[in-house]
């Protein structure tokens, strides 16, 4: 069996780390770009059926990841409506699954964060001459800690996700193999050393992301 150091130096671990990071980061970025405005609109606009939307959103939070994996599998597979795109078993498929997973959590936490912001933020920004978007930005800036918590939670959910990643990505070595599917595989074939090494790297990546976010927030100068 390889020593932990050799495992870390091996090309496959670097590949897995890079893929996991890239896929989860893009999924979080894409999901955030949709979910943060959605959360903002949800908390600042009243419309009929809003209560139901919030309830559905909170339900989606506890949706098992394999359910999403299954649904997207059926959509993307040979017999599905989007079979022509040949996305199944590609990193793009993983990203799609992760975006769907991260959307509700980031939306719900953004909604909660923005909802908790004092309404005087908007008024104050407006009266100081802010335009519509500038005022919205001021509200977002006030809610940034909560929103970042949502984004980090979204990232945490997708990078630790295994069910849908396995189903949609197919765990193809050097192509769609991520931390979680690699750990699951190594455990199933009894290579515990590599599982542990990968788990430690996964933890380190999570720690790094959280540290960077914390740093950015606490030293953030601009509103």
């Amino acid at each position: 069996m390889d020593s932990p150091l050799e495992i870390v130096r091996g090309a496959e671990v670097a590949e897995i780390t890079w893929l996991s990071f890239r896929v989860s980061l893009s999924a979080t970025a894409i999901a955030s770009a949709m979910a943060v405005p959605a959360g903002l609109v949800l908390s600042s606009k009243d419309f009929p059926g809003k209560g139901k939307v919030v309830t559905i959103l909170n339900t989606l939070l506890s949706l098992p990841t394999v359910t999403i994996g299954l649904l997207l599998y059926l959509v993307l597979s040979k017999s599905g409506p989007l079979s022509g795109l040949s996305l199944l078993y590609t990193p793009t498929a993983i990203i799609i699954g992760q975006v769907v997973l991260a959307l509700p959590i980031i939306t719900a936490l953004t909604y909660a964060a923005v909802d908790g912001v004092d309404e005087r933020v908007r008024y104050t920004a407006l009266t100081l001459g802010a335009g519509r978007w500038q005022a919205a930005w001021a509200v977002l800036a006030e809610a940034r800690t909560g929103i970042m918590a949502g984004v980090v939670a979204g990232f945490g959910r997708v990078i630790s996700e295994v069910g849908s990643v396995q189903m949609l990505g197919g765990n193809i070595k050097g192509y769609t193999r991520t931390f979680t599917t690699a750990i699951a595989l190594d455990t199933s074939r009894g290579d515990f050393m590599r599982s542990v090494v990968l788990a430690i790297i996964l933890l380190a990546v999570a720690l790094l992301v959280n540290a960077v976010v914390h740093r950015t927030l606490s030293s953030k100068k601009n509103k």
Binding site: K78, Q166, G170, I172, K173, Y175, A182, L185, R189
Partner: protein, 273 residues
């Protein structure tokens, strides 16, 4: 005085009860591969053995690599696997004793019915594999999970002079079902055990493109965990199961087992007359 005597007597009775029940329930832990479990073979065999010998068998169905690992760690009493090379390593390292091959099934090469690499009608296994390798478009799905099937596949490629290159060889680290499903989705080739393929073929467009070569034999063996290494293991019952599987009664049960009318496993412990 009298009271304490009664308490002690009660305690003795209780402990006797417990030891008696432990005696009654003999448990044997068997690590095996998913192929035997999923085909339903064990569900057919084990109740017969349990009934006639009063031993309860706990089945842990994992990949061959993990099954051997469990044996190595003494987490089970015996293993039932199909990877001769890995089994020999296991024996050589004194993790196991009394290895007995007892049945076999066979592997098949499956792929899209359009068969872009033209496997159909290959004269022998080497030719079939060479065709996959030579084709620029044909992809091959490898289990990549250290399972018996995966080990077998690697062995076959080695004999055929190497795997297909780069992007046409996809290691997916998943079970046979997932590999077949992916081959179906991607119109790719893969090596499958016959049992899993038969169970799934109705949902897929995959066809058997090459079969019947002696090189595709898939022999199963049972190995008892070395009792010298793990004195607490249930060695006696492990040997009892090995004996039963290789007995005329056990062999006949294997030979009678059918899935959808098809024979999946051929008994091999007793040479044909």
């Amino acid at each position: 005085m009298k009271k304490s005597t009664a308490v002690i007597a009660a305690l003795i009775c209780l402990s006797a009860l417990f030891s008696a029940s432990a005696d009654k329930e003999r448990v044997l832990r068997l690590a095996t591969t998913t192929s035997t479990q999923n085909s339903g073979l064990l569900d057919d065999l084990l109740p017969r053995f349990e009934k006639s010998h009063g031993v309860k068998v706990h089945v842990i169905a994992v990949g061959t690599g993990k099954a051997l690992k469990l044996g190595e760690n003494g987490d089970v009493d015996l293993v039932m696997v199909h990877a001769p090379a890995a089994e020999m390593d296991f024996m050589d390292s004194d993790f196991g004793v009394n290895r007995r091959p007892f049945m076999k099934n066979d592997f098949i090469l499956v792929g899209p019915s359009s068969d872009p690499a033209g496997l159909k009608g290959s004269a022998n296994l080497a030719e079939a594999l060479a065709k996959i390798k030579k084709s620029e478009t044909a992809q091959f799905i490898s289990r990549g999970d250290d399972s018996g099937t995966h080990k077998k596949e690697l062995e076959l490629w080695e004999k055929a002079g190497g795997k297909p290159s780069g992007g046409n060889y996809l290691e997916i680290g998943q079970g046979m079902g997932a590999a077949l499903r992916m081959a179906d989705e991607k119109d790719a080739y893969t090596l499958s055990d016959r049992g899993t393929y038969l169970a799934m073929k109705d949902q897929m467009d995959l066809a058997i493109l090459f079969e019947g070569d002696a090189g595709l034999d898939n022999p199963y063996a049972v190995i008892a965990v070395n009792p010298a290494r793990y004195p607490d293991s249930n060695y006696m019952d492990a040997m009892l199961l090995i004996a039963w599987l290789t007995s005329p009664e056990g062999q006949k049960a294997i030979g009678d087992f059918r899935v959808g009318g098809e024979l999946l496993f051929h008994p091999t412990a007793i040479p044909a007359k």
